[in-house]
C-alpha cells in the first residue's frame, strides 16, 4: 500500500461512532418502530459498535438489529464474483423506519443495491442512511447520507479502508 494517510485514529473513530449513535437516539428513541440494518460485509463492524453502544446507554430498549447481504443485487458482478454473506433479518421491516449502516459511501451503487435488497423484504415506512466516511463529490447515483461520521475529499485512484481489528483506524491510500 502506497501513500497511506490515517484519516481517523482509534480514539477519534470511537468518538465519531458514539456521536452517530447519539444522533440515532435523538431521532429514533425508543426504537420501537425503528430497525438498524448493517450492510455486509464491511458495514457490520460499524453497525455492531453503534448498536452495542446504544444498548449500553439504554439497556431498557429492545433494538431490532439485522444484517443485509447485497451480493445478488449488485450491478457489477459480471466480471467479478462476490461471495455472498449471511442475510439475517429476524423481524419484518413492513411499515418500519430502517437505518442502513455502512462504512464508506463512494459511488452510491452499494446503497442502491442495498435498497433493492431491503425492499424485497417488505415495504419500509422510511429508509435512512448512516455512513462512517463520506467520500464527497464522487457519487454516480443521486444518493446522500442522513448521518455522516466524517466527510473527506479524495480522488478516484485512492481508496478508503476501515481497519477494525485489535488496532482500529481509518486510512486513505493510493490503489494504483
Amino acid at each position: 500500500m502506497k501513500g497511506v494517510n490515517t484519516i481517523m485514529e482509534e480514539d477519534q473513530l470511537k468518538l465519531t461512532l458514539k456521536r452517530l449513535a447519539h444522533e440515532l437516539i435523538e431521532n429514533h428513541f425508543p426504537f420501537d418502530n425503528t430497525c438498524i440494518i448493517g450492510i455486509q460485509p464491511r458495514g457490520i463492524a460499524i453497525s455492531d459498535f453503534i448498536t452495542q453502544y446504544i444498548q449500553e446507554i439504554h439497556p431498557e430498549v429492545k433494538i431490532n438489529y439485522g444484517k443485509l447481504d447485497i451480493t445478488f443485487y449488485r450491478d457489477d458482478f459480471r466480471g467479478q464474483i462476490h461471495i455472498p454473506n449471511i442475510t439475517d433479518l429476524p423481524f419484518s421491516i413492513e411499515g418500519k423506519k430502517v437505518i442502513l449502516i455502512d462504512d464508506v459511501l463512494y459511488t452510491g451503487r452499494t446503497i442502491r443495491a442495498a435498497m433493492d435488497a431491503l425492499l424485497d423484504n417488505g415495504r419500509a415506512q422510511k429508509v435512512e442512511l448512516c455512513i462512517l466516511v463520506d467520500r464527497k463529490f464522487s457519487r454516480e447515483l443521486p444518493i446522500q447520507p442522513d448521518y455522516v461520521g466524517k466527510s473527506i475529499d479524495s480522488i478516484v485512484t485512492q481508496k478508503v479502508k476501515v481497519i477494525w481489528g485489535d488496532e482500529k483506524r481509518v486510512i486513505l491510500y493510493d490503489s494504483m
Binding site: F77, R78, G79
Partner: protein, 311 residues
Amino acid sequence: MQLSSKHLLGIRDLLPGDIHLILDTARQFKEVLQRPIKKVPSLRDITIVNLFYENSTRTRISFELAEKRLSADTINFSASGSSVSKGETLLDTVNNILSMKVDMVVMRHSATGAPHFLAQHIPAAIVNAGDGINEHPTQALLDALSITEKLGTLQGKKIAIIGDIMHSRVAMSNIYLLTKMGAEVTLAGPPTLIPKHIKDSFGVNVTYSVEEALKWCDVANVLRIQLERQNQVLFSSLREYNQAYGITRKLLDTIDKEILIMHPGPINRGVELDSDVADSGQSLILDQVENGVAVRMAVLYLLSGRKDSTS
C-alpha cells in the same frame, strides 16, 4: 474467487474448492427462498435455454424455478414436438437456438457425453442436467447440501449408495463428489447392477448385502431401478428385488441407529423403497427437492458471473 470451469459438465471436473463455493452460495440462496419476495435480479440480463432430450419432472421444474428466481429469461425445449423428430442434429438445434442470443444451456440427454460434445463446439456455458449413464452433477450437489444440513460436514461420513449403480448417473456424480469431499462410500445392490471394476477405479467399498450397508452407514442414498435403460434381464422380478434389496421398515428396525434415507426420485414405491420408509421422519427426500432449487441457483449464478462466460 470463481469456479475453475466454464461449464458444469460433471463433478469429475470440479475441485473441492468449487464444491465448497457452490454449497456456500446455495446456503445463501436458501435464505433468499424464505423471503416474502423470493427473487433476486442477478441474472436479469441472461437468457437460458432448458434443452431436455429426455423426460424429467423434478430437474426441469427445479432448473426453471431457479432461473426465474434469478430473474433470467428462460426458453423450454423438449425433443418431442420439435424439429428433432424431423431429423435435425443436436449441434444444429443448439446453434439455431444460440443464434437467437441465448447465453446459457441447461441440457439433459440420453447419450453419455452429449454436453461434453456441445461444450467443444459452442461458446455458451453448459450445465449438465443428466447425460445417459454418466453424470447428474446438480443432483449430487443437492444431495451434498442435504447431508451437510443434517450432519454438518461430509468429511469422514459414511454414505451407502444402494440399488441400480450400473445405470445411475446420480451414483456416478455422488461417488465423485463424496470421495472428493472426504466421505466414505459403500455401494450395495445385486451383483448384476454393480459394475465389476468400480471398486478399484473409484476407491469405494462394495457389498452385495443391503443389510450390511445399512448397518455401516450414516446416510443411505437409495437409487431408482432404471427399467428404461435395462435391455436385458438383470434380476428376476420387481417383487424379488424388493425382498432382497428393497429398504423396508422391518429391515430398518433391525439396525440400532437412525440413519437418513435419501432418494433422487422418482420413487418406485414398494420396489427399492417402501412407502412407510419414504414418508417417515428419517427421509430427506423432500429436503432434497427443496435444496435442488437453491443449488441450481448457485450453479447458474456462479457460471454466469465468470469473466469469460458472456461476451
